[in-house]
Amino acid sequence: MEDLSEILKNHPFMKDLDENYLMQITGCASNVVYKEDEIIFREGDKAEKFYLIRTGKVALEINGRDKGNLRILTIGPGQILGWSWIVSPFKWHFEAHALEEVRAIALDGECLRNKCEDDPKMGYEMLKRFAHILEQRLQSTRMQLLDVYKRV
């Protein structure tokens, strides 16, 4: 069976991460599996974890009230699910559910936040990696908002 730290090391988010940081992060990690259509987290719930997706596809949805649930993004293998664990008040802004069986590494947010507080260099490294993800997501969201295929 593949060691957890090996799985983490091979995930694109952890690429070229210092071995020492990887060891510390592994202490906050666990393997998780979600069945098709299983809810991973709900909008408004406490954001206690984030996930490194290994296989499967996750849908992020927002409750559009009278418009029903609106799917805003799907996340798949090699990507990160969730960043609300790092930003106060640590609540999920969206609902996430598995569109197919999902295998992922879950990282305990509080455990990781504490380790980042204790080791600011590691904390900065993690923030840089998350900032990169956030920048990509923001750019993609802007493109979606532009509605470039709109009917004229």
Binding site: A59, G68, R71, L73, T74, M143, Q144, V148
Partner: protein, 285 residues
């Protein structure tokens, strides 16, 4: 007699030839495909290269530049997939079997398929941009052994706007080709990807040395796609884009489609990105 860029003889490139509508069918709510044949001789062949376009003339209304979306090896008829967006395309959308329209062409440059034999191919299409790329896809799939890995990434507005869904499924099943489709927005019934087309690059592995990319869609989408392809290590010289401008004469005479030092109708519509890098960023060019 003149010879156009694809080497095909034309009597007079400014004179439309009468062609007959063999079939018209709707692909989506606002996109339809016209199948055309020669008016008096259905056996006469159409010769063109993937990526080229024709000028379709609705008599008494006007002309529109429309990319060819059919298989260039099947020469007895032509397919044009058209977005109903303006006056001419609105009239074209109302044609019926047996109606006659004018046709000039083919015009313009083609996708660089011959010169990229042996390479991996990454096709990125957005919306109606899949139509000009479809002839290239047909060619690649027909000559599958001549190419390395083939990836098709396609983005549209909603699941209802997906062009050629049956063919996409067929290609996926029948050929060694990776196809990913994403939509910008959907409800919960859609099981596929949601997000802009470039997010699909997260799911495919490209060898930047070996890969050539062909991109077609709204210009802003192409700009975003080129940026993301460059981040994966692809060189601008290996990225090709198909541009759209207000083509009128289609021969580089009138200047309506002038794009910096080039004319989109004559030098394009397919350009190596390295040839248009500097002017791609200029607003309203």
């Amino acid at each position: 007699m003149t010879e156009n860029k694809s080497g095909f003889q034309q009597v007079d490139p400014m004179t439309p030839e009468a062609v007959k509508v063999k079939k018209i069918f709707w692909e989506t709510e606002d996109v339809f495909t016209l199948e055309l044949a020669h008016e008096n001789d259905e056996k006469r062949e159409f010769n063109y290269k993937p990526g080229q376009f024709n000028m379709l003339y609705a008599f008494g209304v006007g002309e529109a530049a429309i990319s060819i979306s059919s298989d260039s090896s099947k020469k007895s008829s032509l397919l044009h997939t058209i977005h109903k967006v303006g006056y001419v395309t609105n009239v074209l959308s109302k044609l019926k079997k047996g109606d006659i329209i004018g046709l000039r062409g083919p015009f313009g440059s083609a996708w660089p398929l011959e010169q990229n034999k042996g390479k991996d191919i990454c096709i990125i299409a957005g919306g109606i941009g899949l139509a000009p790329l479809r002839p290239a896809i047909y060619h690649i799939l027909k000559h599958r052994k001549h190419y390395g890995k083939v990836v098709i990434l396609y983005g549209v507005r909603t699941p209802r706007d997906i062009l050629y869904p049956v063919e996409l499924e067929l290609w996926r099943k029948k050929y060694d080709v990776e196809i990913e489709v994403t939509v910008d927005r959907s409800d919960s019934t859609w099981r596929g990807h949601v997000g802009v087309v470039t997010t699909l690059l997260n799911y495919v592995e490209l060898n930047p040395e070996k890969t050539r990319a062909m991109v077609c869609g709204p210009e802003i989408m192409m700009k975003f796609a080129v940026d993301e392809l460059k981040k994966t290590g692809l060189d601008e010289k290996g990225i090709y884009v198909s541009l759209e401008r207000n083509m009128k004469c289609a021969l580089g005479f009138c200047g309506h489609c002038q794009y910096g030092p080039s004319f989109v109708c004559k030098d394009g519509p397919v350009f190596s990105f390295s040839n248009v890098t500097d002017i791609f960023e200029i607003k309203e060019l």
